[in-house]
């Protein structure tokens, strides 16, 4: 837990809430969290209901519970599951933080979209005036051929394409 506290701000930056579940009672949790100034959410589970639900291993020979970590994304899906086989079998913070980046990138793609793509939909809906100009004034290519109707059709086609299609294509 000291290891997690060290990089706590990095977890916060990745929108990861650290929730610690243990078999101790509420008083033991309160005392330990105060003593160590732990910023996490601590949940005493004296009846081990959640510990059993999640299958935390108890090693009778070593007289203790094996550490376990589960990283759950915003959708509630377990994206990383680690069951320790001995007391020091704990994933590195870097590993968890990298996973956090990955989860944020896949589950919440909006913030990672480049800014020029965010206005992409507007680019395909030119203002009334420019549409009118495009249709009223015949435009000619080098050979003098009128291609304004082709342009107009193209604009219409783009205009009619559902927004979701644009996103998919981008």
């Amino acid at each position: 837990m000291a290891q997690l506290r060290q990089d706590y701000s990095q977890f916060v930056a990745r929108n990861i809430e650290v929730v610690v579940v243990g078999p101790e009672n509420a008083q033991a949790f309160a005392d330990y969290f105060a003593k160590e100034s732990l910023p996490f959410i601590g949940l005493p589970d004296p009846t081990a209901s959640v510990l059993k639900l999640y299958g935390q291993e108890v090693n009778l020979f070593k007289l203790g519970r094996m550490p376990a970590q589960v990283l759950i994304d915003k959708a509630g899906v377990a994206r990383y599951v680690h069951y320790g086989h001995n007391m020091s079998d704990i994933p590195k913070n870097e590993e968890l933080l990298a996973l956090g980046d990955e989860i944020n990138a896949t589950a919440d793609p909006e913030p990672t979209r480049p800014p020029d793509l965010e206005t992409g939909d507007e680019r395909y809906e030119p203002p009334e005036s420019s549409q009118a100009a495009c249709c009223l004034e015949p435009r000619r290519d080098a050979a003098g051929a009128d291609f304004s109707s082709a342009l107009h059709l193209d604009a219409l086609r783009r205009h009619r394409r559902p927004v979701s299609d644009d996103r998919r294509r981008l």
């Binding site: 837990m1 997690l4 977890f11 990745r14 929108n15 990861i16 809430e17 650290v18 929730v19 610690v20 579940v21 243990g22 078999p23 101790e24 509420a26 008083q27 033991a28 949790f29 309160a30 330990y32 969290f33 996490f40 959410i41 601590g42 949940l43 005493p44 589970d45 209901s49 959640v50 510990l51 059993k52 639900l53 999640y54 299958g55 935390q56 291993e57 203790g64 519970r65 094996m66 550490p67 376990a68 970590q69 589960v70 990283l71 759950i72 994304d73 915003k74 959708a75 509630g76 899906v77 377990a78 994206r79 990383y80 599951v81 069951y83 007391m87 968890l96 956090g100 989860i103 944020n104």
Partner: protein, 43 residues
């Protein structure tokens, strides 16, 4: 022992924190990622 499977919805639970506030896993749904840490004993 049941185990949580990767890429499956994690089982929901509700527990009271030391102050008596109930915390459920679903409280974080759509809001935050959660690193659930099953602790060995405090020492």
């Amino acid at each position: 022992m049941p185990r949580v499977s990767l890429n499956q919805t994690a089982p929901d639970f509700s527990l009271a924190d030391p102050r008596g506030n109930t915390v459920s896993l679903t409280d974080f749904r759509g809001v935050k990622n959660v690193l659930l840490v099953f602790n060995r004993t405090f020492n």
